[in-house]
């Protein structure tokens, strides 16, 4: 199954998201199922982009969803779901790394495995093929970054989170997001150029 990038976590406006949460809190099965389905997808993609491994991403998503639903009753419906869910996923990912004493930077040798998670390009014009090659190089280079750099790029450039949402997920001031994000992007750009040099 192939998913398009970064659709809203819950379709519609903030009001419909709040309505769905309220119905889920009231125990309406259809609302719970709809919420689980929509949240699970975004949570899985974030976990995959942080971990680069399908099985680990599925495990983390299951744990994150369990925590998500077990704390649903205490969730303030005035807040948005996505930053809250992503905070849970991020914490689960960090717990997993801690358990394994491993960081993304250690997974350089597995970058080909990571690239396998990207969907193969359809037959398309040359410009699209060029962009697909860039996607692969970015994904490969991303795997070599440290956790801090990787997660901020994933949140902004793969999930299109606003600076304030990123600040909430990472637990940092909004004013810090831009400088940290730029530092990570510069590093990523340098890695892509290095890789381009190696493959030239």
């Amino acid at each position: 199954m192939v998913d398009s990038p970064a659709p809203p976590l819950v379709a519609g406006d903030a009001g419909s998201e709040r309505h769905l949460i309220d119905r889920a809190k009231a125990g309406e099965p259809a609302a719970c199922d709809a919420l689980a389905r929509r949240c699970r997808r975004g949570a899985y993609l974030l976990a995959l982009q942080m971990l680069g491994n399908r099985d680990d991403a599925m495990d983390v998503t299951q744990d994150a969803m369990l925590r998500f639903f077990s704390t649903l009753n205490s969730f303030d419906a005035a807040r948005r779901v996505q930053p809250w869910l992503f905070t849970i996923v991020r914490n689960q990912v960090r717990d997993l790394w801690r358990q394994r004493q491993r960081r993304p930077a250690d997974a350089v040798g597995e970058s080909d495995v990571l690239v396998g998670q990207l969907v193969a390009p359809q037959p398309s014009p040359e410009a699209d093929l060029h962009r697909q090659e860039l996607r692969r190089r970015i994904w490969r280079a991303l795997a070599t970054l440290t956790a801090d750099k990787r997660e901020i790029i994933v949140l902004r450039d793969y999930h299109d989170l606003s600076y304030s949402d990123i600040a909430e997920v990472l637990g940092i001031p909004v004013g810090t997001v831009m400088s940290r994000l730029h530092g990570a992007r510069r590093r990523l750009r340098a890695r892509i150029e290095e890789e381009g040099g190696r493959h030239a």
Binding site: M1, V2, D3, S4, P5, A6, A24, K25, G27, P29, C32, D33, A36, R37, R40, R41, Y44, L45, L48, Q49, R54, M58, Q62, D63, M65, L66, F68, F69, S70, L72, N73, Q117, L118, V119, R131, L134, R135, I138, W139, I153, R156, D157, Y158, D160, Y163, M178, S179, L181, H182, G183, R185, L188, R189, I192
Partner: protein, 147 residues
């Protein structure tokens, strides 16, 4: 202090410019600088290309069937938790009553042995499954997630 390219603002503003996260005054400042600086223009173009490529990336995601569990609410869990013991009690009472009736109705030893064998076999299977479930429940991380 100005950079060699003449930039007088923090380089991080280039990312803010790409993300359209700057206030009008900062955006104007960056725009003016980009008009005269090829190096910063190249940086902005690269950042933009990277972001567009990332945003348009697609990933394989598991099919719905691959997610074995779907979480439910506390209320749902409670109802399911109460429902199963009730159904089990009902099955034991009705089954026991039917077996007792059949036992009373016949004096034939073979028929009684068949009844006894069936009940014993069923009980052994039930206890076996129950023991497995109890053991799994202690180590299953997802035991609170219901199908």
């Amino acid at each position: 202090m100005p950079e060699p390219c003449g930039r007088t603002f923090d380089e991080a503003l280039l990312s803010g410019y790409v993300d359209r996260a700057l206030v009008q005054r900062e955006g104007q400042r960056v725009r003016l600088h980009l008009e005269s600086c090829a190096a910063c223009r190249a940086t902005v173009e690269d950042l933009r290309a990277m972001r567009e490529a990332a945003m348009s990336s697609t990933f394989e995601t598991p099919r719905d069937e691959e997610w074995s569990e779907t979480p439910h609410t506390e209320a749902g869990r409670l109802l399911v938790g109460l429902g199963w013991p009730l159904v089990t009690a009902w099955a034991v009472l009705v089954g026991g009553y039917a077996l007792w009736g059949s036992w009373q109705e016949t004096d034939n030893l073979l028929e009684r042995l068949m009844l006894l064998g069936g009940v014993t076999g069923f009980a052994m299977l039930f206890v076996g499954v129950l023991l497995d479930r109890l053991k799994a429940a202690k180590t299953d991380h997802y035991r609170e997630v219901h199908r």
